[in-house]
């Protein structure tokens, strides 16, 4: 319990502040939790490790749950993960039950967040303990597995893999670092780029560019429509006149099942929140005794969707903290923020930083409660955020992105240009239909994959090492095979279904 001395008022204030800002970001359509974390990064430069963590985790939790507000009130998912919330939330809002719907969502989110935090707390140390014995061979296979899983779960496996490989390619630009046992020579660039790119692109400007600037470009292309008027936002009247906890009666199975689905999907690297909530929603639809009202304004749909998408937070942190592999794009930005604070996430993180680990758990649980109280009691005022005009918001976001990129390496102007390069790249990627999440995860893991792969080969001198190193290597190959098979089966299934639809 020594870690308790590390917690002070500022810590809790920052977690609460983070949750509030996160909710606001999540509530504005088109802005995501990832963007909230990216934009607020400069604030953490000046904070210590624990305070920085409090702010970041608050932003993460708030950002994911904030998406429910426009989903219910405007039928626009504020973040991709609240897509299924719109199915039942908007019909309820049209019936004048907007506030009731939001409160159901808030409670479901809290339960989802807490269950996933509990799973994280119990499971991450076990996984870390297990993976601590991994040699370069197993580490390489873990990365390969992560990339296969991402690819097999993206909407199109081929496109997913290709995006991931582009990410790896981008990460290889620069020198083959001597500190990692390389020969210090540069590759994949021309000589004139060497002064800027000797160490490659820095992670955070790349992430901020892809998630911040490219979003602005995508919106600018559409003409930055405001289009929201006060009349469209109907919260419903009266202070929770018709809300009571009895809505949750008989819904406990749904709540717990959806939370576990969310946690599990969160653990899979690169799979976003939309997969979690869609899966939980369809499961409820298939398994519930009475699902006839779903899609027309049934609270059970809201419960499934929101508990699953908030359960992502804990789930996505499991591979991040135990293996160093980010579970989604927001945790990808968190990896950058941790590195900045001098923390190397991976198998050694929890055993070597036990106090930080407890501090993180405290921040995560506290952020969930702050989110709950803010949303439950102040939802009416927060709902107004969806009306903040974008022409005010966007320039401020660009400004904060610039600060974040410039200050990251203590004032390098090239990092600001990186922002622009990757902003445009991110825009192009999304326009031609490639996927951002696999690309980012490929970028983060690419240079490690190289070291593990090349060093394993250098020491063993044969490719067979990847199969014969240990029983774990065999298991990992089986998992890789299984995820490829899964994806092939899914695509065959959907093809057969399409053919049937065409015939029928």
């Amino acid at each position: 319990m020594e870690f308790l001395s590390l917690l002070d008022i500022t810590f809790f204030l920052l977690a609460g502040f983070g949750a509030l800002i996160g909710i606001i970001f999540g509530a504005i359509p088109g802005m995501t939790a990832t963007m909230a974390v990216a934009v607020c990064l400069p604030l953490t430069y000046a904070l210590g490790l624990n305070h920085g963590l409090a702010l970041l985790l608050g932003l993460y939790v708030g950002g994911i749950s904030g998406g429910m507000v426009p989903a219910v009130l405007l039928n626009i998912p504020g973040t991709p993960s609240s897509i299924t919330t719109t199915f039942d939330g908007y019909p309820m809002a049209q019936k004048g039950e907007g506030e009731k719907a939001l409160r159901v969502c808030v409670i479901a989110s809290l339960v989802g967040g807490l269950i996933s935090a509990a799973v994280l707390f119990l499971f991450a140390p076990l996984l870390a303990d297990f993976s601590i014995k991994f040699s370069y061979v197993e580490k390489f296979l873990i990365i390969l597995l992560a990339l296969t899983v991402i690819a097999s779960l993206s909407s199109n496996m081929l496109i997913g893999i290709f995006s991931g490989v582009i990410g790896i390619w981008l990460s290889l630009i620069g020198d083959y670092s001597i500190s990692d046992g390389g020969n210090g020579k540069t590759r994949l660039m021309f000589d004139f780029m060497e002064p800027f790119l000797f160490e490659g692109f820095s992670l955070l400007p790349v992430l901020i560019g892809i998630f911040g600037i490219s979003t602005i470009l995508l919106e600018a292309e559409k003409g930055v429509k405001s289009g929201l008027t006060n009349e469209r936002v109907r919260i419903g009247k009266g202070v929770s006149a018709n809300f009571s906890l009895s809505i949750f009666k008989g819904r406990l199975t749904n709540l717990v099942r959806s939370s576990f689905i969310g946690t599990f999907v969160g653990m899979l690297p690169g799979v976003g929140g939309s997969a979690a909530s869609v899966l939980a929603y369809t499961q409820e639809k298939n398994l519930a005794k009475d699902s006839s009202q779903m899609g027309k304004g049934a609270p059970q749909g809201l419960i499934a969707s929101e508990s699953a998408n908030n359960a992502l937070t804990g789930g996505a942190l499991i591979p991040l903290l135990s293996l160093g592999i980010p579970g989604d794009s927001t945790t990808a930005v968190l990896i950058g923020a941790f590195t900045l604070q001098g923390i190397q996430v991976g198998p050694l993180f929890i055993p070597e930083n036990t106090e930080t680990w407890y501090v993180m758990m405290t921040a995560l649980v506290f952020a969930n409660f702050v989110m709950f109280f803010l949303m439950f009691y102040a939802i009416k005022y927060i709902a107004k955020v969806v009306l903040v005009p974008k022409h005010i918001l966007f320039p401020i976001i660009v400004m904060m992105c610039v600060v974040g990129a410039y200050a990251i390496n203590y004032g390098i102007m090239f990092d600001v240009w990186t922002l622009l390069i990757f902003g445009i790249l991110g825009y192009l990627i999304q326009k031609v239909g490639l996927e951002v999440a696999p690309l980012i995860i490929g970028f983060i893991l690419g240079s490690q994959a190289e070291i593990y792969f090349v060093k394993s080969l250098e020491s063993a001198g044969t490719l067979s090492i990847f199969f014969t190193k240990s029983p774990i290597a065999g298991v990992l190959w089986l998992l890789i095979l299984a995820s490829v098979m899964f994806s092939l089966m899914m695509s065959l299934k959907s093809r057969a279904k399409r053919r049937q639809e065409l015939l029928g």
């Binding site: 290709f162 582009i166 083959y176 400004m399 600001v416 326009k431 044969t462």
Partner: protein, 147 residues
């Protein structure tokens, strides 16, 4: 049989060129994947474009050219001038402050659809206060390096 298989799998990496070993593999994977995508996705897609069923991304879609290219131009000028002005007042963050104010103003005005008096006043107030506040909190209170 056994020995020929292990010969096939054995690999030695020359340290001097080891920086090119992994990138070469990645290039090959990229090339193969691209070829498959070209054959299975891109060719049918282009055929659909020719028949007029699908539109090319970016060039074939309707877009707000003024706001899109305006944003790009503003960003380039913003980043460039920030460094120039920042060099005139080193270690003060004035480059960020003085260039951000007009940038925020111009970008807001560009995105604003109806230039009513009230909206413009709000934009102006925001353009002055937001960068000043950011500069004060980050550069003065937190001592963060700004251009």
């Amino acid at each position: 049989m056994e020995s020929s298989l292990s010969n096939l799998l054995s690999i030695s990496i020359d340290f001097g060129t080891s920086h090119l070993f992994f990138p070469t593999i990645i290039h090959w994977i990229m090339a193969v994947l691209f070829a498959i995508i070209l054959a299975t996705k891109l060719v049918p897609f282009m055929a659909a474009v020719k028949r007029g069923e699908r539109a090319l991304p970016i060039v074939g879609e309707p877009m707000d050219g003024l706001r899109f290219f305006g944003t790009l131009a503003l960003l380039v000028v913003y980043f460039y001038l920030m460094a120039v002005v920042g060099d005139m007042f080193p270690y003060t963050g004035y480059g960020f402050l003085f260039v951000s104010i007009p940038f925020v103003f111009l970008m807001s005005m560009m995105y604003l659809h109806e230039w009513t008096k009230k909206a413009v006043v709000i934009v102006l107030i925001n353009a002055i206060t937001a960068p000043s506040l950011a500069w004060f909190i980050l550069a003065k209170l937190f001592n963060i390096t700004l251009p």
